[in-house]
C-alpha cells in the first residue's frame, strides 16, 4: 500500500495553516477602500416598525449609507424562497410561505431580525450610527412555543397565514400502523422533546461584498457552506441579475454545522451597499448577534408510541411531532421537522409498520434550519428513547430488547416502511462488537466503585441508522501544470472537516502521484461550474466519488497516450501503481512521463491536444447511502446534586470504506461532543412572554468543553460494503449526533432506574436530574 493511499491516516494538510494562525477567514481579508457595515437588529420579538428616522444618524461622522425596509421595497429586490425538499401540505396544496426579505420590511418578527444596515468608513463609526438610529416600534404580542403558536387565540405572525401554520406532513402506513397498535400486546407512549440548540461555530458569520461598476459584476466573499446554491438565491431571487455577475467565494470557514448553509439576509444587504457606496463593504457578526440570528436546530416536540408483542418483538412505531421554524421558511427550515425527521424513524430495527406525522409552526424566534443531522438525530433519539422506556416499563432488558429486534443481514436489501433503501449493513455484528468493546465484564466492579463514592453508574447502548443528504451532484476538475503541479477543484466545501486532505488523498492514490503535489481548490463559483457545498454528510459520498470519476477519466486518457508512446494497443495497457504497462510486452511508462507527454503535440495521438489530461466531470448519486453504527456510554450521576459525567464512550461505526481513519475519528468525536452538548448542556431558551433570548452568550449557553468529554474508543466496521457508489463510502459527518444523545440519556436513566426515574427531558441539567430523583422517590 502506498504511503498516501486510501485508508491511510494522513495528518490534515490544512492543520499547520489553521493552527499557526495562517488561515484566511473573512475577517482576515481587507480590500483597498473597504468600509464597514453593522446590522441594526430588532430588540423586540414582534413589533410594527412605525418609523425609522435615519437623517441624524446619516449626518454622523463617516456614515455612508443607511438601508431600511423602505429602501429595500423601493429597490424592488426579491424574496428568498425556501428550497425545502418538502413543499406541500398533506392535502397537496403548497406549504404556507411568508415573503422573506433580506431585512424586516414593516414588521419585525424575532429578536435579532435585521431592521436596518448602517455603513460607515470605520467599524466604530458604523456602530455609533447604528446605536443612534432612531426606530419607532409598536410592540405586538409574541409567541415562541410552537405548540402555543398553533393553538387558537395565539398571536398571529402573518395576516394571510391563519394559525401560524406552515404545513403538515405524513409518511408511512397510517392504517397498517394503527392495525398493528390495535392488535399488539403492549403499547407504550412517551412525550419527548428534542431541545432547541444552536451550532456556535468558532467563526461567526461575516462577509465582504465588492462591486465593479464597469463590468457590473459583484464579488461576495462569505463565510458560507454553500457558494453555488446561495449565489442562485442572491443573484437570481434577490438582486435579479444573471448568476455569472456574482462571483461567490468562501475562503477558510471556521465551522458551520448547518448554521452557514443558508442564504441569509446580511450578504444580500452588503451586496447592495457595495453598489450604492462604490466601496467594498465588510460585515462581521459579533458573538451575541450570532446567538440571535444564526439558524437554530432541533426544537421538536413529539409523542412517540411503540407497539410490541408479549415476547418483545416490535410491531409498529408511530411518531407525531410539532416543530417551530421561526417566522420564515428560511432555506430548508420546513424540511427538518417533516421529511428530515421522518426518513430514519425506527433506526436499524425491524419494524413491520411505521407512521410519522408532523405539524410545522411559525414562531417569533430565530429561524430554524439544518443542524448537524437535520432530523436524523431527532429520529434516532425518539426511537431509542421509546425503546428504552418500553424496556423499563415492561420489564425487558434494554440491551436484549434492542439486540433481538435489529434487522439482520438476511433481511437486506430492504426498503423500510419510511421508504429508506437499506442496501448493506450488519447491525447485529456492529452491536455485538460495541458490547464487546465496552468491557461489560468489568461493569459490575465499576458500579460498585462508584457506589462507594455515593455515585450511581449507568450504561446504555444505542444503535443508529441514518442517511446522507444534500445536493446529489458534484463537480471535480483536475488541471495539470507543466511544472508538475496538479490542481484539484471540487464543488463541495469544507468548513474545517479536512477536505484538503481526504480529497487529494483519493486523487493521489488513484493516479499514483505524490499527495503533496495536489493543490486543492474549493468554495469558489468560478472554480467549479456547479457545487453542492457542505451538508448531509455528502462530501466523500458525492464529492469523493466525483474525484474518483475524474481520476478514472484521466487514467483512461493516459492509457491512450501511453499506448501511443509505447506503440501498443490501448486495450493492452494496464494502469497500476502509477505506471501504464503493456501487459503483452511488459514495457511500461510512468504516470509522470505521460503527464509530461500530454503537453507536447508531437508525443500525443492525433485526436488529442496538449493539455488533454485536464478533466472536469460531474458525478451524480443515484441513491442516498445508509451510514450506521452503534454507540455506548457509561455515566456517573451524583444523586445529591444531579450532576452527570460521561465516564466512558464507545463507538463502532459503519461508514463503508474508510478513506482516512484520522479524519473519520475527528468526525465521530466532534459529533459525539455536539451530541453530548445536546444531551447534557445546550439549550436555546426564549422568554415565553417577551420573546427575548435568555441564552444569548457563552455565559448562559453551555457548550461542551474538553473536560466535559470522556475518552472515546472508536472502531469501524468495513465488512458490509455498499455498492451505491464506486468509492464504497457511506458518510460520516453526522453519526455522532445520532448515537451520542440516546446513549448518554439512556445511560443516565439506567443509573437512576433503581430510584424509579423513567424519563428526563434533554438537556439533562443537574437541576432536572435532581428533581427527577426527588419526584420519583
Amino acid at each position: 500500500m502506498e504511503k498516501f493511499g486510501i485508508g491511510q491516516g494522513i495528518r490534515r494538510h490544512e492543520d499547520f495553516r489553521f493552527l499557526s494562525g495562517k488561515g484566511t477567514y473573512i475577517d482576515d481579508i481587507t480590500h483597498d477602500g473597504m468600509v464597514h457595515a453593522v446590522v441594526v437588529r430588532s430588540p423586540h420579538a414582534h413589533a410594527k416598525i412605525v418609523a425609522i428616522e435615519a437623517q441624524s444618524a446619516m449626518a454622523m461622522p463617516g456614515v455612508l449609507l443607511i438601508v431600511t425596509g423602505e429602501d429595500w421595497t423601493r429597490e424592488g429586490f426579491g424574496t428568498m424562497p425556501t428550497k425545502s425538499a418538502v413543499q406541500k401540505k398533506i392535502d397537496g396544496t403548497p406549504l404556507n410561505q411568508p415573503p422573506r426579505h433580506a431585512l424586516a420590511i414593516d414588521t419585525a418578527r424575532y429578536v435579532g431580525e435585521p431592521v436596518a444596515l448602517v455603513v460607515a468608513e470605520t467599524e466604530m463609526q458604523a456602530v455609533d450610527a447604528a446605536e443612534a438610529l432612531d426606530i419607532d416600534y409598536d410592540e405586538l404580542d409574541a409567541v415562541v412555543d410552537p405548540v402555543k403558536a398553533l393553538a387558537p387565540g395565539a398571536p398571529q405572525l402573518w395576516d394571510d397565514i391563519p394559525g401560524n401554520f406552515c404545513l403538515d406532513f405524513e409518511l408511512g402506513d397510517k392504517d397498517g400502523t394503527q392495525a398493528a397498535f390495535a392488535s399488539a400486546d403492549h403499547v407504550v407512549s412517551l412525550a419527548i422533546e428534542n431541545n432547541r440548540v444552536t451550532a456556535v461555530p468558532l467563526e461567526t458569520r461575516g462577509a465582504i461584498a465588492s462591486y465593479d461598476p464597469e463590468t457590473e459584476n459583484y464579488l461576495l466573499e462569505n463565510a458560507t457552506q454553500n457558494v453555488h446554491a446561495n449565489r442562485a438565491t442572491f443573484a437570481g431571487d434577490v438582486l435579479n441579475i444573471p448568476e455569472e455577475q456574482l462571483h461567490h467565494i468562501a475562503p477558510d470557514v471556521g465551522g458551520g454545522f448547518g448554521a452557514k448553509n443558508s442564504a441569509y439576509g446580511e450578504p444580500a444587504l452588503i451586496l447592495y451597499a457595495a453598489k450604492r457606496t462604490g466601496r467594498p463593504v465588510k460585515w462581521i457578526n459579533q458573538r451575541g448577534e450570532s446567538f440571535l440570528s444564526d439558524t437554530h436546530g432541533r426544537g421538536q416536540l413529539s409523542t412517540v408510541e411503540l407497539a410490541l408483542d408479549k415476547d418483545g418483538t416490535f410491531r409498529a412505531l408511530r411518531t407525531s411531532t410539532i416543530g417551530g421554524i421561526g417566522c420564515y421558511c428560511w432555506t430548508v427550515g420546513p424540511f427538518t421537522p417533516s421529511g428530515g425527521a421522518a426518513r430514519t424513524q425506527g433506526g436499524p430495527y425491524n419494524f413491520p409498520a411505521m407512521y410519522y406525522s408532523s405539524k410545522v409552526a411559525f414562531t417569533n424566534t430565530a429561524p430554524m434550519d439544518p443542524y448537524r443531522g437535520a432530523g436524523r438525530p431527532e429520529a434516532s433519539f425518539q426511537t431509542e428513547r421509546i425503546i428504552d422506556y418500553a424496556a423499563r416499563t415492561l420489564g425487558f432488558d434494554p440491551v436484549e430488547l434492542r439486540r433481538r429486534n435489529l434487522m439482520t443481514p438476511d433481511m437486506l436489501p430492504r426498503k423500510t416502511p419510511m421508504g429508506l433503501d437499506v442496501d448493506s449493513g450488519n447491525f447485529p455484528e456492529v452491536f455485538d462488537r460495541t458490547l464487546a468493546m465496552s468491557d461489560r465484564a468489568g461493569y459490575r466492579a465499576r458500579v460498585a466503585a462508584s457506589a462507594e463514592k455515593g455515585i450511581r453508574r449507568g450504561f446504555a447502548i444505542a444503535p443508529y441508522m441514518e442517511c446522507t443528504g444534500g445536493g446529489p451532484k458534484e463537480f471535480a476538475g483536475v488541471d495539470f501544470g507543466r511544472d508538475g503541479t496538479v490542481t484539484l477543484r471540487v464543488g463541495s466545501q469544507s468548513t474545517g472537516m479536512g477536505h484538503e486532505t481526504s480529497m487529494p488523498q483519493i486523487l493521489a492514490a488513484e493516479l499514483g502521484i505524490d499527495f503533496d503535489r495536489v493543490t486543492y481548490v474549493q468554495g469558489d463559483t468560478e472554480a467549479t461550474p456547479i457545487g453542492g457545498g457542505h451538508g448531509g454528510s455528502r462530501n466523500l459520498e458525492v464529492g469523493g466519488n466525483a474525484v474518483l470519476q475524474a481520476a478514472r477519466e484521466i487514467t483512461a486518457k493516459g492509457k491512450r497516450i501511453a499506448a501511443h508512446l509505447l506503440n501498443s494497443n490501448e486495450d493492452d495497457i494496464d494502469f497500476a501503481d502509477g505506471a501504464f504497462k503493456d501487459v503483452k510486452t511488459g514495457q511500461s511508462i510512468a504516470m509522470d512521463d505521460v503527464i509530461e507527454a500530454s503537453f507536447e503535440t508531437g508525443r500525443l495521438p492525433e485526436a488529442m491536444d496538449p493539455g488533454c489530461l485536464d478533466t472536469g466531470t460531474v458525478y451524480e448519486r443515484e441513491i442516498i447511502t445508509i451510514p450506521n453504527g452503534c454507540h455506548a456510554a457509561e455515566v456517573e450521576v451524583d444523586p445529591e446534586t444531579g450532576a452527570v459525567r460521561v465516564e466512558r464512550f464507545w463507538a463502532v461505526d459503519d461508514f463503508g470504506k474508510i478513506i482516512n481513519p484520522l479524519l473519520a475519528d475527528g468526525q465521530v468525536m466532534g459529533g459525539v461532543a455536539q451530541g453530548l452538548g445536546q444531551a447534557l448542556l445546550e439549550e436555546i431558551v426564549y422568554d415565553e412572554d417577551s420573546g427575548q433570548l435568555l441564552t444569548g452568550s457563552l455565559m448562559d449557553y453551555a457548550l461542551p468543553r474538553a473536560d466535559d468529554l470522556p475518552e472515546m474508543k472508536i472502531a469501524y466496521f468495513e465488512d458490509a460494503p455498499t455498492a451505491k457508489n464506486p468509492l464504497g463510502v457511506k458518510g460520516a459527518g453526522e453519526a455522532g449526533c445520532c448515537g451520542a444523545p440516546p446513549a448518554i440519556v439512556n445511560a443516565v436513566i439506567d443509573a437512576l432506574a433503581p430510584d424509579g426515574v423513567r424519563h428526563i427531558e434533554m438537556p439533562l441539567t443537574p437541576e432536572k436530574v435532581w428533581r427527577a430523583i426527588a419526584s420519583a422517590r
Binding site: T641, L694, M699, D700, A702
Partner: protein
Amino acid sequence: MYEFQYHRPESLDEAAKIFAGADDPKFLAGGMTMIPVMKQRLAMPSDIIDLSRIGELTGLSAGAGMVTIGAMTPHAEVAGSKEVEKAIPALAALAGGIGDPAVRNRGTIGGSIANNDPSADYPAAVLGLNATVHTTARDIAADAFFTDMFETALEDDELITRVSFPAPEKAAYAKFANPASRYATAGVFVAKTATGIRVAVTGAGACVFRVEAMEQALSKDFSPGALDGIAVPADELNADIHASAEYRSHLIGVLARRAVLQTG
C-alpha cells in the same frame, strides 16, 4: 466600546491625581469584567486608569498566621503559590478553580472583590476567612465589605491595595459550577478560625452571605451530620435559567456538608 482616555500610573499617588482630575474615571485591573462590559457599551468611562504598573498593589506574603495578597495578584499566582498552599490550602484551591487559565492569568483578587459578582468565588473566601480588605483609605472587615449585588463598601476613588487572610485552623471551599460560565451556581466556604466557625455562601444570593444557623451547629459539632435539617430558605435566593432558588437552597446544604468533610 466608546472612546476613553487611557492612563497607566506608576504609583497610588499618581493614580489618585488622575482620578481626581477626570470626568468619569474607572480603574482597570485584569480587565476580565471591565473590558467585556466596555465592549458591549454597558459602561462608558471617560478615563481608564490601568493599575498594572503600580508596585504597591503587587506582592504576596505568608507568615505569622497571615496570608497577605496584593490587589493586582492574578488568580493563577495565588493558586500556584507554595506559601498559600501551605498556610491556607483552601484559598489556593479556590483560586485554582476560578474560570479558565486565561481568566486566572489576567483576573486579580482586587478586581474580583471590588466587582463583587454574586457568583464570584473570592468573596466566599474573604468572608469565610474573616479577611481584612486594605484600601487606600482604611481597613475594612470582611463582614462590612460586601454590601449588595455588585456593591461594596468602597468609595468611588478608593482602591483596594491588598487583602489579608488570617490562617484558619482548617477550611474548605465546595463549589458547584455553572456549566456555561463556570462561575459558582453555589459555593460554600467553611472555616474553623480563631474567632469561631464561619460559613460563607456565594452564587446563591444577591451577594455573598454567612449562614449563622450552620455556624452555630458546626460550633457544637464540627461534622457534616451537624448540618442536617438546616437549610437557607429558598425565598432569599436567586433564581435564573440555570438554577431555581429551591435547587440553590438544596445545593447550599450539600456543598456545606462536603466542605466540612473536605476540611478533614
